[in-house]
């Protein structure tokens, strides 16, 4: 059974077809890259999958279950987590709290346990603290746990977003430009990091990225969008030599030098 199956997905904003007849099937353990020029509709696809927008048409199935129409928090609880193009941490909260917050749906104590600090509360909070620290340690953020999220340097904030989404225990992780604004050195570390978390947490990963070094290195398969539509898909090598893709990025008449 595919992890993600998107069929005939469309989204119109007024007269604008932001996404038009988008198809995508992802098998377990795949890393798929979604690329295309700015404004091609990539982030809109992400927003449709994670429930921020309702599709105008089409279906989205996750592990065989239709999820379009569910509110975002339900989709997350089913096992899809994401990061954001413009980092959206809980800024004034601590690094640790950013991660602990998303444990909520799986916490096994009730309001009364919390209000009266029952043994069940204490045991469960201990577990949450331990596991949250493990996620932070995996992303090399453990020594920052007590800092405010807004006080972290940019790269740490990106990693904290990843730690937070991992703490949702997703099967499908969606990364929206995880290497935006990074230098080649940092990009290659991000590539290693994504590989590491994929193995460690057994993830299927869908990512948007403009850093070609990253997508070509990391992804087994690429899907290219332009003007809301898929214009090509295939292995990185196939995409590299695809005339349509070159035109979308560089304009008509472009050739590989």
């Amino acid at each position: 059974m595919p992890v993600l199956e998107v069929k005939n997905l469309s989204k119109n904003f007024g007269g604008l077809k932001a996404v038009n007849n988008f198809q995508l099937t992802m098998e377990e353990g795949e890393i798929v890259g979604l690329i295309g020029p700015n404004g091609a509709g990539k982030t809109t696809v992400f927003n449709l999958i994670t429930g921020i927008y309702f599709p105008s048409a089409g279906t989205i199935n996750f592990l065989g279950e239709q999820i379009n129409g569910l509110p975002p928090f339900r989709i997350c609880q089913k096992g899809i987590a994401r990061t954001f193009q413009n980092i959206r941490l809980f800024k004034e909260n601590t690094v640790l709290d950013n991660v602990r917050t998303v444990f909520h749906p799986r916490i096994k104590y009730g309001l009364l346990d919390a209000l009266f600090r029952t043994p069940r509360f204490n045991a469960e909070e201990e577990r949450v603290n331990r596991e949250a620290m493990e996620f932070l340690a995996a992303l090399n953020l453990a020594d920052r746990s007590a800092h405010k999220a807004s006080g972290l340097p940019y790269g740490d904030q990106r990693r904290l977003e990843i730690a937070r989404s991992l703490a949702c225990r997703p099967k499908l992780l969606i990364l929206d430009e995880p290497a935006a604004g990074m230098n080649p050195n940092e990009v290659s570390r991000m590539v290693d990091l994504v590989r590491m978390i994929k193995e460690k947490f057994q993830l299927t990963i869908l990512l948007i990225e403009h850093q070609m070094g990253m997508v070509m290195n990391l992804c087994e398969r690429l899907v290219v969008m332009d003007f809301g539509q898929i214009i090509a898909s295939g292995t990185p090598d196939e995409i590299r030599n695809n005339q349509m893709v070159l035109e979308a990025y560089l304009g008509k008449g472009a050739t590989v030098a």
């Binding site: 928090f73 909260n93 640790l96 709290d97 998303v102 603290n129 007590a146």
Partner: protein
Amino acid sequence: MKISRQTIMLLILAAAFFALVKGLQFAGVLNAYWQLVLDQALVTVIGALGLSLIYGFTGQFSLGHAAFYGLGAYTAGAIDIVYGNGNIIFFFVSILAGAALAGLVALLIGLPILRLRSDYLGIATLGFGIIVKVGMDNANKLIPVLGGATGMSGTPQTAHFDLIFILVLIIILLVRNFVFSTYGRACTSIREDEIAADIMGIDTTRFKVLAFVLGCSLAGLAGGIYAHRYPFLHPASFDFLKSFDFLLIVVLGGLGSMTGTIVTAIGWGFLMEVLRAVLGENFIDWRGVIYALILIVAIILRPQGLFSGKELGLLLPRPLQTGQGKERSHAGTGS
């Protein structure tokens, strides 16, 4: 059940405060007038902690808090006048009934209006507060005991400092426990970024409503206690100006700081009365002017509030065992 060192320290501090007040009472420094000021300030602490949950921790702008305070006061007062006659059991029954009614109304109004954002939510709650005030002004037409625009008098004066103090302490502990639990974390995540919280698996509607209902219940509880410490309830005591009082306590204290809310609630309660005492009869007209100036100067000097980013250590949970540093408060900057 383990009691943390923080809790023990908090109880010791509370006992010291209690002993101090008792000492002042014994020495005759704290006369009946100042005792009333102190007791009402403590009642305000409970109501303000309620708004702190709603706005300071969950980020939901409410300008109608006094309406729930009033609903609690009138409910508790009326129940005790009709059935209780000063029986201490009815004190508890009536204040819980007041809190429950405030919470129920908050649930009914909160479900639809908490979809609104920031200033629009503020105006909708302000409007709701004015509707409740009109209701209070005309309540005697349905239930004569409520008194309507002339006010309701003769509520049994069962509450006194000892009782109020213990209730405040319990509420402080409960609010602390709520804030430093998964529920509190869910609430602060909504305050910080509602969309991100939603996408990260938090049922934002549920927690906005939960915080609103709990916060308004605390306002109702505070109102119920107030009705038992001040024998005359009047709709004007629960109008939007009173809502602004709660708001400025929470903001001046620092959003997301229980310490700030508690300290400011008590300090603000005393400010008006201290001004009255200091100014004397000749300059009493200046009281409102000075009060307003203090408010403006305070917020310009400390736009983040007194305790923003800080919580008294006693109110924080036990530090983590991992040795990776202490937990911080849940300070927020507001919208």
